[in-house]
């Protein structure tokens, strides 16, 4: 009940925006290729179960690409962060490189990824997603592993704890909130990577291709409903990470809220 009241303002704003959108389109007679009404987007979504565009089978393929890229990018990011945190001297070499690579607009490489890994292969999309995901995971985790309270490190030193014990008992738990923050950013990025990769070519049954095909056929209701599906997938992934936070770091101020004895 209290939670309902907490989210009520956001819900009211969302509904009023949708209603305003619908009214504006109808009253101002906005053309569908500029902005379709929410009701027609919804109708297109329902109708497209078998209308030649296959939004839902496409969503499955895109989701697999995004999740694959998320897994690969997260894996590489975790390994890099752990290695760099374990060998502090490597930071001066790895960090400037990582920052420089991150400054490159990775999306611009999407056409290249297609020619490297095959336009029709899901791995070309996973590669883009993974490249996007890598940096926020690596940098956040590295921060969590290295920015440890100096008194806590002295406490461990007073116990004559070795580097492995310090990592297991102090650095990893300390890094979990940072890692999960990185993961939240990464879920969205992985979907962006997959969809944008598809814009530059891929299987017909992918959301990126549906967006492009819908637009070129002037079926903007289809395009919008595909975008809606990607958005919902992004929100669901984000919520899943929030659930993960509740399970893994119930002690963290961001999760525990105002509960205090």
């Amino acid at each position: 009940m209290r939670r309902l009241r907490q989210y009520l303002p956001a819900l009211v704003i969302l509904i009023s925006m949708l209603v305003g959108w619908e009214l504006a389109v109808r009253v101002l007679n906005v053309k569908a290729f500029i902005l379709p009404a929410p009701t027609s987007i919804w109708a297109a979504l329902i109708a497209n179960w078998n209308d030649g565009y296959f939004i839902f089978p496409s969503a499955r393929v895109t989701l697999i690409e995004a999740l694959g890229g998320l897994a690969i990018g997260t894996g590489l990011g975790v390994v890099t962060a752990v290695v760099v945190s374990r060998f502090p001297r490597s930071r001066d070499t790895v960090l400037p490189l990582a920052v420089a690579v991150n400054a490159v607009p990775i999306i611009a490489f999407a056409p290249l990824a297609n020619s490297w890994f095959g336009t029709l292969s899901p791995f070309s999309k996973m590669a883009i997603a993974a490249a996007l995901v890598f940096f926020p995971i690596m940098i956040n985790l590295l921060r969590g592993l290295t920015q440890v309270d100096s008194s806590a490190l002295e406490l461990m030193r007073s116990y004559a704890a070795g580097p492995t014990a310090v990592t297991a008992k102090l650095r990893v738990p300390n890094a979990l909130p940072y890692f999960l923050t990185g993961l939240k950013i990464a879920t969205t990025l992985s979907l962006i990577g997959a969809v944008v990769g598809e814009y530059f070519g891929g299987l017909t049954e992918t959301l990126g291709r549906v967006v492009v095909a819908g637009a070129s056929a002037l079926r903007f209701d289809i395009t919008w409903s595909a975008i809606l599906v990607v958005s919902v997938m992004g929100i669901v992934l984000y919520l899943l990470v929030m659930l993960l936070e509740r399970a893994l770091i119930p002690w963290h101020p961001s999760v525990r809220g105002e509960r205090r004895a």
Partner: protein, 279 residues
């Protein structure tokens, strides 16, 4: 000088810090012996190096010159042998662990078996009167309770020496007095040797068998005050005339150590602290 009774032995210890190219002398020619079972307080104005001295004993920093011995061996070896427990000004508890798990941390690190860990943790929580809070998280406790958890953790593996760095500095006066009595209780029950850093004169006098008075720039020992107040100490101690006389003695030693140049500021702070403690 290192007899079997000497738990801490410092001889001609110097500590210099390099800051922005210039060398600052933090500690100058410190020699001190602390015997088994003593409760020694280090007191002095900020910048006198009392915390640095404590950290030297705990091998959390190294001397620039001179020798630090703990239990008859170099401080580093004593640390590796886990000869001391440490309590910092902040409790330094891990929020991802419950109160009991925090107390258990050193036992886990030392590879003790689960049964010993559990029984020893329960024993320690009872010692600091926190048995009912075993499953709480640190952030659910008050500051005084958190510091009691830190003390229980420091004592969990039965070290020979307890190092405390202004442990009650962040607590209000009432809580601080209650914590002082608890620490004295624990000291008497366990017979542990305690080195205690503080900037409160009443706290130093009430707790200690000996007060080491230090002065700043450079940090050095200016006076050792033997505290002959009878044990066990309690409310009556805080109201005895001997207690007041010793407080005066420590205060005057602190003032003498400051020299004529910078008298006003710190001594009035210390006086306020002293009066707060009595009242």
């Amino acid at each position: 000088m290192t007899g079997p009774e000497s738990v801490v032995h410092l001889s001609h210890v110097n500590k210099t810090f390099e800051t922005a190219g210039a060398a600052t002398v933090a500690l100058s020619d410190i020699s001190l012996d602390i015997r088994r079972g003593e409760f020694v307080s280090l007191i002095g104005p900020s910048g006198c190096g009392k915390s640095t001295l404590l950290r030297l004993i705990g091998d959390l920093t190294e001397p620039s010159a001179g020798a630090v011995q703990v239990n008859g061996k170099p401080a580093t070896q004593a640390r590796l042998d886990r000869d001391y427990g440490m309590v910092f000004q902040a409790p330094v508890l891990f929020d991802w662990r419950t109160v009991a798990e925090n107390v258990r941390l050193p036992l886990e690190l030392f590879g003790q078996d689960k049964d010993t860990q559990a029984s020893r943790t329960a024993e320690m929580l009872e010692l600091v009167d926190l048995t009912d809070f075993a499953r709480y998280r640190p952030y659910e406790l008050s500051g005084g309770m958190q510091q009691r958890v830190a003390i229980a953790r420091a004592l969990a593996f039965s070290p020979l020496l307890l190092l405390m760095d202004e442990p009650f500095g962040a607590l209000d006066e009432m809580t601080r007095e209650r914590m002082n009595s608890e620490v004295l209780n624990i000291w008497q029950q366990t017979g542990i040797t305690v080195v205690f850093v503080t900037h409160s004169i009443p706290e130093a006098v009430f707790l200690s068998t000996r007060v080491v008075v230090m002065s700043a720039r450079p940090g050095r020992i200016t006076k050792l005050v033997e505290v002959d107040l009878p044990q066990p100490r309690g409310l009556a101690t805080r109201e005895s005339s001997r207690y007041f006389n010793l407080i005066t003695e420590v205060r005057e030693a602190l003032r003498a150590g400051e020299g004529p140049a910078s008298d006003a500021g710190l001594s009035s702070v210390e006086r306020t602290a002293a009066e707060g403690g009595i009242g």
